[in-house]
């Protein structure tokens, strides 16, 4: 405990002296991204409904985007492909969402149509 707090203090002092970030590094950013992906995976697997499952997927893609930007900024020397990758992930997300919801509507409508058909058959 003491050791940990000393480390934190040391690092922070270094930060103050060096005038640059010590906590926002590639590793911490990737850890954050991993946490988001982990939570998203949990959500995607555990939720029963399709819409909530999509929420989990979105959270995972959130982590992926963060990682992509972190690489771009800290390890990729600002290569434009890094940004483009993020945009493509965003596009994937948008398409996934739009198609996903359109499917939900279609399926819901289809079920209803089945039900009404079944009902009218029963009547005859």
């Amino acid at each position: 405990m003491v050791a940990m707090s000393t480390t934190i203090i040391t690092i922070t002092r270094q930060a103050l002296l060096a005038r640059k970030e010590v906590w926002m590094t590639l590793v911490t950013l990737l850890l954050l991204a991993a946490a988001l992906i982990g939570i998203g995976l949990y959500g995607a697997l555990s939720q029963q409904s399709f819409v909530m499952l999509m929420m989990g997927l979105e959270l995972m893609l959130n982590g992926v985007m963060l990682a992509a930007v972190a690489f771009w900024a800290l390890s990729g020397a600002g290569a434009p492909e890094g940004q483009l990758l993020t945009i493509i992930v965003m596009a994937v997300m948008a398409i996934e969402m739009a198609m996903g919801f359109a499917l939900v509507v279609a399926v819901y409508r289809g079920k209803q149509a089945d039900m009404t058909e079944a009902l009218s058959e029963l009547k005859q």
Partner: protein
Amino acid sequence: MAVSWLHRLAGLTPVPVFPALGMGGDVVLRRLAQATNIELVGSPRHASVLLVAGGVQPDLLEALRRVHDQLPWPSSSLWFRCEPLPELEDATRIDDIEALPGALAAIHRELLLQRRGSSPRLLPDNPPNPWEGLGDDGHGGEGMMGGVPYGRPMAMNMHDDIRDGLTLDSLTFRIGPFFPAFPPGMSAEVTVQGDLVQSWTTQSLPHLVALDPVFHDARQRSVPIARLELARVRYHLHRLFHGLRLAGWESAALHVLHLAMRLTSDSRADALRRRLERYGFFYLAALDGGVLEVEQARRVGGPASRAAGLDDDLRSEDANYQRLGFSPVFHNAGDTRARWQQILAEIEQSLQLAKQAAREDLHTQNSVAIETPRGPWSDERCPTDASRLLDEIIPGLEWDSALATIASLDIAALSDWPLVEDKPLTRSEERSS
């Protein structure tokens, strides 16, 4: 207790008044819309004084109590030509419409200066259903959709959707008789899915509508056509006033009201027509719905029937109207837009008739059957309540076009008593008020 400067400052604000209209109460709307220190609000949450205007039938008192309790404190009530509820011991009653703005302002100021306490709550503090601690999860029932959490059941899927067949939950509620966008006194049980009305059942009928005494005179004897036509114009303008207020267009509504107040046989409605057309009332507002079939239109009578293509107007049977070259104007579409266009056209026509009749000093010939602004009126035929018609035409409309349709339809039955309209304000009186 010392009154804080905040309360003093608050006392200076224009009085936010929520009007609950009883029989013949709509006259206060027009008076208060022109008062300088009154703000008419659409929800009791935004009001400090509840103004009950006109007689309230006993079966609407429960609803009145509910509205009364929905004003947040500090709040009080004022009763205009209406006996206060017995529970409200120190409620004020007033009968003189000219003193109304002043009385409202006085109540508001007394409330905020804490010389008058807020009205007590009338209804017991109980949830609509007992729920706390009942059932599996303490929400009054079982399962995810069961129970009455916070006192009410959950919304459920009750009706098939009538528009696009995607059936989701529907909401059923009773609305009125003090809903400001409705004709006074009308209430209905409504089911909506999204903002689309799925079913509509009129529950209490709108209050009877009173006509200018000149129409009652016209049934007895010959009256000057100019007077009759001006009274007709005033009636239509008052309806247009409510329609424009509902369309969120206060400045145009006041324009209409001013026109109605200063009506003479030389008045013209050109500026009004220009304004309505130029600023897009007929294109922008929700006027597409509420199409009446010919049969339905006949049941309503009056301008609404002429807006649906009937050229049914008793004035064409009067010899002196014929001398003036009268022939009924009509529109064909039968929807809300056509009804407002019809009203506007009839206002213009009546002004024209009034001007001509005043010049030639013509009187009506026929007193057996006259055309009132509400519809044809004779011994056999009297405009009756048509609010059941709404049950047929409102389902399938979005909320805004449903309300626009209701505002454009004059559906209340005719009262046997003439309107106790108060004398129009003169210019100097208005300045001083």
